[in-house]
Amino acid sequence: MPRRSAGAALAVPAWAWLAVFFVAPVAMVVWFSFGYKPGIFGTHANDILSLDRYIEALSPTFFATFLNTLWVGVVGTVLCFLIGAPVAYWMAFKVRPQRRGLLIALVLIPFWTNFLVRTIGWQVIIAPEGWLSTALQSAGILNGPLDLLYTRAAVLLGVTYNYLPLMILPLFVAFDRVGPALREASKDLGAGKVTTFFRVTLPLSRPGVIAGVLLVFIPLMGDYITATVLGGAKGNMVGQLVASQFQTAQNWALGSAMAVVLMLVIALSIGVAALLLWLVALPFRSRTRLVLGPAAGGPSTGSGTGAATEVSA
């Protein structure tokens, strides 16, 4: 067997590849963001460094788009959780184990279908001249054509749809790991369904909830395709703003500053959310803590009594 240092060298190609084609380019963008656009034909210059591009990126016109993106990001993530959690719960606890593989496949197929094509599918569905609009009009629900495409609501629908599998899968894995034993114990001790879910299942699947929320929120904030296909001018998001600075306006300095601000906004909102969650959970911490022994089946005496006391409390 090779020595440890020699073995770790196996990762060197991947290190190098990611350093050259990920770390360096992103660092270059950060560097550009301190520069400026020298003239009509230049894209960037860095001979004078300043924070002016950041001030420009946060000027009222662009700031509105940042706020809009944050709104879509938060509401979209919450919707994904509210829609996806019952599905994950259903798959983990209510479906026959033999059928689980099929259901996972059914969730995965949309996930692995081309993102752009799925979004175009929604454009076809909600187009004012599409069949949904016609059906709603002939049913008498709508008086005029469906006015959904190219609005913020359409973007919200699109992102909720597009990122839903990323919420369902980690939640399913987490629920599945909780297993029936503790839930049965909770019910045997007199807890109802709702209590069991909120006091046992949900706290134990916290890693899955966190993974799901992050997997949805982060790509959603940087979304470019959904907003382009469904949003039009009304449903503008930061991704499009960044793209247009690079492609249309040819102002790489400003575009870079916006990209950096986008990443900071994402990091900051995750931090704020974590803090809020921690603060909300604080008063419940001592009461809902469930200490498990070395193995879930056979807890040691100390923690066993602890758990028993806590459940009965």
């Binding site: 067997m1 090779p2 770790a8 196996l10 990762a11 190609p13 991947a14 290190w15 590849w17 990611l18 770390v23 992103v26 270059m28 963008v29 550009f32 960037h44 829609i83 019952p86 599905v87 259903w90 798959m91 606890f93 209510k94 479906v95 026959r96 259901l103 996972i104 496949a105 059914l106 692995w112 279908t113 081309n114 752009l116 094509v117 979004t119 175009i120 599918g121 929604w122 454009q123 076809v124 569905i125 001249e129 599409g130 069949w131 749809y161 839903l164 990323l166 899968l169 894995v173 839930r183 369904k193 982060i218 790509p219 940087g222 470019y224 296909v229 991704g239 960044v242 690079f246 986008l262």
Partner: protein
């Protein structure tokens, strides 16, 4: 005790999910609601895909307005070199990028699982960073980087569309393959490698015949996932592409602006079939390797 077990066994047979002891109470309104909700959400997930498949048989001129049923769209693919070229570029770059990602990711995954140390946390941190960075940021970062490498430094290959596209889609895929291979090997015993060394196999032989063999299902799954991911790559591709080598998703994206035509749905339907075959192969490979449904879900979601 044994009576209870027997009852449970009977209940388990009748109703696979078996929790609790009273079957009638088990079919409560919440369970019915969950069943209905689950089915509805899965229909929701498939709605646009079904629509695209149906509209690929649209004989009309525009995608959105369904004219009449027919195979005109599929025939148009054969007549349009631009469409064929775009699909070819996508397939070639996806293949190259999947090969790069699988090679780098497999080596890194093995190193992380078998030679752990402090460096693993740094490396996992980097992989995490790669996977959480919004694609649009990757895209706007790679564009000036390729321009700088190709024009300012004069390294000609970075002006080539195929090179740029393959590199662009290999980054995230490398991270995914690394996660999968590491996850697989961490769960496997390292004793086999030690046994192999004890039996005087050279390190290279041990690596090839034992470690790599153990990792193989994950490597195959990773390769197919990397291929599918790269085939889907739209945002990075839209930025780094060079005219003449436009990949399929970028072709579609430009059609969104200029007007969608039914042949886009037709190609998408064919691609969907390809993706289904790839997914089925991954599932079969993982099932053969003894993964449970949950393990497969975890692998497919990218670790």
């Amino acid at each position: 005790m044994s009576v209870t077990t027997k009852t449970e066994a009977i209940l388990r047979r009748q109703d696979g999910t078996m929790i609790g002891s009273d079957r009638r109470r088990y079919r409560s309104w919440t369970d019915i609601a969950l069943n209905v909700w689950g089915v509805l959400v899965i229909l929701f997930l498939f709605a646009p895909i079904i629509v695209i498949v149906i509209y690929s048989f649209n004989n009309g001129r525009l995608l959105v307005s369904f004219d009449s049923f027919g195979f005109d769209a599929f025939r148009t693919i054969l007549e349009k070199p631009a469409v064929q070229n775009a699909v070819r570029v996508s397939l070639i770059t996806a293949l190259i990028s999947a090969i790069i990602a699988t090679t780098l990711g497999t080596l890194a995954g093995i190193a992380m699982a078998r030679y752990p140390g402090k460096w693993v946390w740094w490396f996992l941190g980097l992989l995490l960073l790669v996977s959480v960075t919004p694609e649009i940021v990757d895209a706007v970062a790679l564009l000036p980087w390729f321009v700088w490498l190709g024009q300012d430094l004069g390294i000609g290959m970075f002006n080539d569309g195929y090179v740029r596209l393959s590199i662009g889609s290999s980054l995230f895929a490398t991270a995914v393959v690394s996660y999968i291979v590491r996850a697989r090997l961490v769960g496997q015993d390292a004793n086999l490698e030690e046994a192999s060394a004890d039996l005087y196999a050279r390190p290279v032989t041990t690596f090839r015949r034992v470690t790599l063999a153990l990792a193989m299902p994950a490597v195959l799954a990773g390769f197919l996932l990397a291929f599918t991911l790269s085939l889907d790559n739209t945002i990075v591709a839209a930025f780094v592409q060079v005219s003449g080598t436009t990949p399929w998703p970028v072709y579609v994206l430009s059609a969104v602006r200029s007007g969608l035509r039914p042949e886009i749905a037709a190609v998408s339907t064919i691609m969907l079939l390809l993706t289904l075959v790839a997914l089925a192969v991954v599932a079969v490979v993982l099932r053969r390797a003894g993964d449970s449904a949950t393990d497969i879900a975890r692998t497919m979601a990218g670790g």
